[in-house]
Amino acid sequence: MRKTIALGAAIFGAASGIACGGDGGGDLASADPFCQRVVPAVEAFMTQARADHPTPSDDRYGGTVVVGGAAELRGGMNSAGAVDYVSVQHHQFVNLMTLIDYDQDAEPRAYLAERWEVSEDVSEITFHLRQDVFWHDGEQTDAHDVAFTYGLVTNPVVGFSNPAYWDHYEQGDQAVEVVDDFTIKIRMRPHVDFLDPWRTVGILPEHLLGDVPPDALGTHPFGSECPVGNGPFVFVSHTPQDRWVFTANTAFPQGLGGRPFLDRYIYRIIGEQTTSLTELLTESTDVYLSVPPDQAQRIIDDPAVDLMHFRSRNFAFVAWNSRKPQLAAAEVRRALTLGTNRRAVIDAMLHGYAGVANSGVPPLHWAFDRNLAALDEYDPQAAATLLEEAGWTDRNGDGVREDAEGTPLTISVKYRSGAQLQKGIVEIMQSELGQIGVDLRPEAVEWTTLIRQTFNVARDFDGLIMQYAVDYRLDDTDSFHSARSDVGSALSGTSDQELDRLLERLSAAPDREAAQPLWTQYQRVLNEVHPYTFLYFPERIHGISKRLRAVEMDARAEFLNIKDWHLDPASR
């Protein structure tokens, strides 16, 4: 027995020894030569910055905040490669800086760029950069970094995942002119929201990444092993699938508020929702991002935490494949919307945390047409009439409508396997549409298989339930313009000249005055063509510990004022 215990102790000791090495165990050893070079430089600069900028005597300064998120920050701090919502926010507000950000009314305001000018014909924008922003290794952030970043995100070899951002910007050597170290001109074509990409893309350091081959950037250690930013928080460590640790950047410009109030910010990856809730309620985390609606009441009931919810920039929809004969007529597609009680879907599946959608323009956007809200209310009688008009009648009395040839109105709706919300929605649709003679069949498909079947030219689906997140810069060309049918997102395959014309005019509208009436008209026509059943605009729901103060979250972002978050001094 003694031998057994001794053996056990030895194994445990060895294992603990392996796992104990570092922050949380298993953090990156930064053995890569790049990291070996940059980490000491960051440490040296930050040590000097702490000496030069002592923490002000204000009890808001200090403490550590832990945010629990569901997923790893994929791509890390490489803003040219990362695609997911939370990663991008870390570029915007945590580790990197964007040229501009948005105020509460979603109007552009200065950030890394202290001002900008646009030529009269909206063909050129000149950014003037702040001169007090430094990379965390001590190098100054300048216009060459902006030009470098622009070169990366517009380079097809890099594979930047949102190339449509740059549809209205010139590309190539002539597109950018570095006027001086802090002034850069970029040539473009008129577009009403031409500034939006600069809100999203974190500027990258040319002095560190300039010699990295563009196609190797996605796997470069800069992304997740030793990122060097210029934002309010400095990267400390990353334990894959566990946590990212950042510390306050004491050299952050005073003109932008100076160093953050928090000493440390930790992003923890907790995939299981029950665990995330437990961690918030036991104060192991301070923020629980993306609370599912069915957990919201549990958070409301707890006196130590607050529930924060707001309308997001997402919308959920069912794309109808109009290439399929049973879905070719707009009347049929519209009948499917009228026959779906979307308010009941929202109440049953989202506990009310959503609003009915009738287009992909989110309600917070200036282009949103409020008159659309009352369109297509649940009306099974009207839906049945539309189906009759389109030639679909229950000819054999089996409860399912058929066309003149006797083909039943059978529609399969594909959704991501394991997505309980989508499964529930499709099942409700199946029940409701079944009552008006539509044989709707839910079909669960594994995610990558689903994408393969739907986002390529094979278009192997009848209906597809999806959710998109949109930027402030709206452009439906890739989804609905008939000339872009080869693009992955041209799901519905509708072809309408009026829609095409409006999309083209919208794309060239130089300002809101010109674009607003076009957007209103466009949303009306889109409703007539009815490529999708727009389901709802979901709310984003988050749980916040009451000890955390000054948290502002809205459709712009969750981390937008992380620099101003502070802890109740008594709770530290």
């Binding site: 056990g8 194994i11 445990f12 294992a15 603990s16 392996i18 796992a19 104990c20 922050d23 949380g24 165990g25 298993g26 990156l28 550590t64 832990v66 790893e72 994929r74 490669g81 594979g159 995942s161 949102n162 190339p163 449509a164 196609d215 996605g218 796997t219 250690p221 997740s224 092993e225 334990t239 894959p240 699938q241 566990d242 946590r243 923890r268 990856i269 907790i270 995939g271 299981e272 029950t274 665990t275 437990t278 961690e279 309620l281 036991t282 192991s284 707890d302 594994e446 995610w447 990558t448 994408i451 393969r452 079947q453 986002f455 998109y468 452009d475 989804s479 693009v487 992955g488 997102s489």
Partner: protein, 323 residues
């Protein structure tokens, strides 16, 4: 040594089969990067960046060649050398698995032996019911219940003076702790995942142990030991227990793969950054280099564990000898 050498083609065979199975699955890593507006040219560029535009046999030859030189490539989702990603996660899984295994074997053997010695007693019946309860519980459900009761309820409802952490391998103040504090913190975080993983195994081992022990204590040599006046403790621990352990040792080889597959769920529930979570997410993202590295490492570990079980068998049973 001969068995070790024989394991080499086995491991490569497993890896080869997995390579083709994984690549036969629909979708690839670029699928997960698809966004509205991505043109076919851009999608093709993304695929080319990851070398996915080449035929599968070419990719296999390249993968095999790289792997033989110890280069598992770079993880597509982590953007780091695959081996580094695996080596970050592997210690956490080994630690969790080793703790669960020790817990399960220690308590399984002890409880099984007690049940056999006290056959048909109230203690035997009670233990049987309790162990069957844990044996029949799905591990993910057990993990969630343990987390809710020993973390959330213990702190917020029952107001215990202590409660277990619900996730992670260490606390957020880990860096500022002393060495003893760090060890304590790690042990504290290990408690619930280990229990969740080990309880069902413990119950199984106890059932085997009880049966094995009952068989042994009825044998002639035990009767002889008692007849010659040896104390009961000596009869049980010195003579019966050792022989009853023989079939239990063979369970070791059987349970290690079970343990590794069990970590997939347990690690997800407790946000434990180990191999289970890593491979689960890698499969979802079609991160081919990472899937291959993980399965290769798992294959090696399982082969080694079976080898270890065989060697232990020889240690416990002097009749077994390997030339």
């Amino acid at each position: 040594m001969r068995r070790l050498v024989a394991s080499v083609p086995l491991v490569f065979g497993i890896a080869t089969i997995i390579f083709f199975v994984v690549h036969a699955a629909p979708g690839d890593p670029s699928t997960t990067l698809i966004r509205p507006g991505l043109t076919p040219e851009m999608a093709a560029q993304l695929r080319a960046n990851y070398g996915l535009d080449q035929p599968i046999p070419i990719r296999y030859v390249k993968w095999l060649g790289s792997m033989l030189t110890g280069d598992f490539g770079r993880s597509i989702t982590h953007g780091r050398p695959t081996l580094d990603v695996v080596m970050d996660a592997l210690p956490n899984t080994l630690l969790l698995s080793a703790c669960a295994l020790m817990f399960a074997f220690f308590f399984g053997i002890v409880l099984g032996a007690i049940q056999a010695v006290r056959q048909y007693s109230a203690l035997d019946s009670t233990l049987s019911v309790v162990l069957l309860f844990f044996y029949s519980m799905p591990s993910f459900w057990l993990a969630l219940m343990l987390s809710l009761s020993l973390t959330l309820f213990a702190r917020n409802v029952w107001e215990w003076p202590f409660w277990f952490p619900g996730s992670g391998v260490s606390g957020t103040s880990y860096d500022s702790l002393s060495v003893i504090g760090k060890l304590g913190d790690r042990l504290w975080h290990l408690a619930l995942p280990t229990l969740s993983l080990a309880l069902a195994l413990t119950a199984g081992i106890a059932r085997y142990m009880r049966a094995s022990m009952l068989e042994v204590i009825k044998l002639d040599y035990i009767r002889t030991a008692r007849a010659k006046g040896l104390p009961e403790r000596s009869v049980i621990f010195k003579h019966a227990l050792k022989n009853a352990l023989l079939p239990i040792v063979s369970l070791l080889g059987l349970y290690i793969p079970v343990l590794f597959s069990g970590t997939v769920l347990i690690e997800s529930i407790f946000a434990w950054p180990g191999m289970g979570q890593l491979i689960y997410l890698a499969i979802g993202q079609r991160d081919y280099p990472l899937i291959m590295a993980c399965t290769f490492i798992f294959a090696i570990l399982v082969v080694l564990a079976n080898l270890l079980a065989d060697l232990l068998y020889a240690v416990v049973d002097p009749r077994v000898r390997y030339d």
